[in-house]
Symmetry: C2
Subunit: 296 residues, 2 copies
């Protein structure tokens, strides 16, 4: 890349799938950062990051990691943000852009804004990319290519800071979109968090069945159940934190879904064929909408 890099010193708090992928993208694509600092509190992860060599510096202490950085991106489960912010806030450099890669955005404002030092710009981001794997080995430079990245800067955020984070994600290959945090949290509650809650739940429901039936379930899992378990193979800490940090929107969507499921169940019980057909047709219509947008 001929461009000067967007940042001189990019600090990634957390070196798992997301942090490791941003670091690799910065190295392989260029134009993102002159130096990359990868932080992890776990010694094994740090050692592995050193071996993999995708960062210029590795650091255990988040407070030391952020020193002198003009961009800091939190790449840890969202439940860890408040604790990390307490450690790093006093060491953030003036003019630094503080961003993140978490799946909930209201919680980011709640946890980061109160401690945000004067002159540090907060630009929360949610790259809509991931795999079912985690840890520093799971990352790769092309993870974000062709995926959306949603930015939810609070009103009044310095436009130049917002643009630098937007450009970072464009250089990672993503399409950048803007949304307010509340809308973001509602949208991801229905497209991602509720499906995961359902997938985790139905796996447990199956696991509770009598021994003989459970064996048959595992044997005959048809495509329906397989798609659910694909979702269910996700990182425990990340999803626990997502559920806890998008509580309101998730419970609201689950309540709506449960009402709708009960209405369909009632139609099944009472043999209301027309109602059932209507629900199936609506599913197909949404499906068509997704295909037209080439998302399916």
């Amino acid at each position: 890349m001929a461009d000067a890099p967007l940042f001189e010193r990019l600090c990634l708090i957390g070196s798992g799938l997301i942090g490791g992928s941003i670091a690799r993208a910065a190295r392989e694509k260029g134009g993102i950062a002159r130096r990359v600092v990868a932080q992890s509190r776990r010694p094994e992860t740090l050692a592995r990051v050193r071996e993999l060599g995708f960062a210029d510096e590795v650091e255990a202490d988040p407070a030391r990691a952020v020193e002198g950085a003009d961009c800091v991106i939190l790449c840890v489960p969202v439940g860890a943000y408040a604790g990390v912010m307490e450690r790093i806030a006093p060491r953030l450099s003036p003019g630094c852009v503080l961003s993140d890669a978490g799946s909930t955005k209201g919680s980011v404002l709640r946890d980061l804004q109160p401690l945000l030092p004067e002159g540090v710009h907060l630009v929360p981001a949610h790259p809509m990319a991931g795999t079912e794997h985690s840890g520093p080995d799971a990352g790769f430079a092309t993870l974000f290519e062709g995926r959306y990245c949603i930015l939810t800067p609070p009103e009044g955020t310095d436009p130049a800071a917002v643009e630098r984070i937007a450009e970072l994600w464009r250089r990672c290959g993503s399409s950048v979109e803007f949304m307010d945090a509340a809308t973001h949290d509602k949208v991801v509650a229905i497209v991602s968090h509720l499906p995961h809650l359902i997938a985790f739940t139905i796996c447990g429901t199956a696991d509770d069945l009598a021994e003989e039936t459970r064996e048959a379930v595992l044997k005959f899992a048809a495509s329906g159940f397989r798609d659910f378990t694909r979702i269910a193979a996700s990182d425990v800490d990340m999803w626990r934190d997502i559920f806890l940090n998008n509580r309101e929107a998730l419970l609201e969507m689950l309540a709506r879904f449960t009402e709708d499921a009960q209405a369909l169940a009632r139609a099944v019980r009472w043999g209301e064929a027309g109602f059932i057909e209507d629900r199936i047709r609506r599913g197909r219509r949404i499906r068509r909408g997704l295909i037209e947008r080439k998302q399916a």
Copy 2:
């Protein structure tokens, strides 16, 4: 194939995805039937079956179609079985094996057994294969290859008749398994019918969201929601009939699932991290079980 065909005259009631695929398999693989009769009550479908040429004879009237057949397989939505049986029962040849390809098996006994003529053998079957497409064009000879086919012959069924149907499915490339109808219905309720009910429902829940959010849902549908809509793109008549004909098992599994989802929701509301982690871990465990069985 050097073997003599299993049947002289195989009659398929219904010429959609499943009937069309059995006919094609019989033609391409050999050893299954000397002649194939494909029935459909819809003139467009009959005309198309003639054009596609996958059957030796096509016939609109089910009663005429089954005449002289030594094997009849119902390949229509399970809700149509009772009506079809009324029409065909008086014309079934002595010694004929009557089978089907429906996704519910208790309902098959309920709808077919009372009208079963003396000397006709009932061997219900459920080939666990399908696509999201339907109609005579959707079928293909390899649809059943590598898939399970579950047979649920009632106690006392002629073992020779059971073996001929089992061999038909083996020659279509399937692995044949045996189960009683009640167990079958419970297993498919959790691995297939409940996931479909959930998928249809969540699509409707999303469709009910306010205009702005719905647009964003379609735009940002992450893998979670995509997997759900893949399931939801299924045939309306078939799924209506499945829900109505596996009512007890489906409502039982939905009730269990709903209890489990509410327990998880409660943990989210009250911040019970340990409970949430446990549910996520169980999902991963089931997932691993599936992978070990090479079903995922």
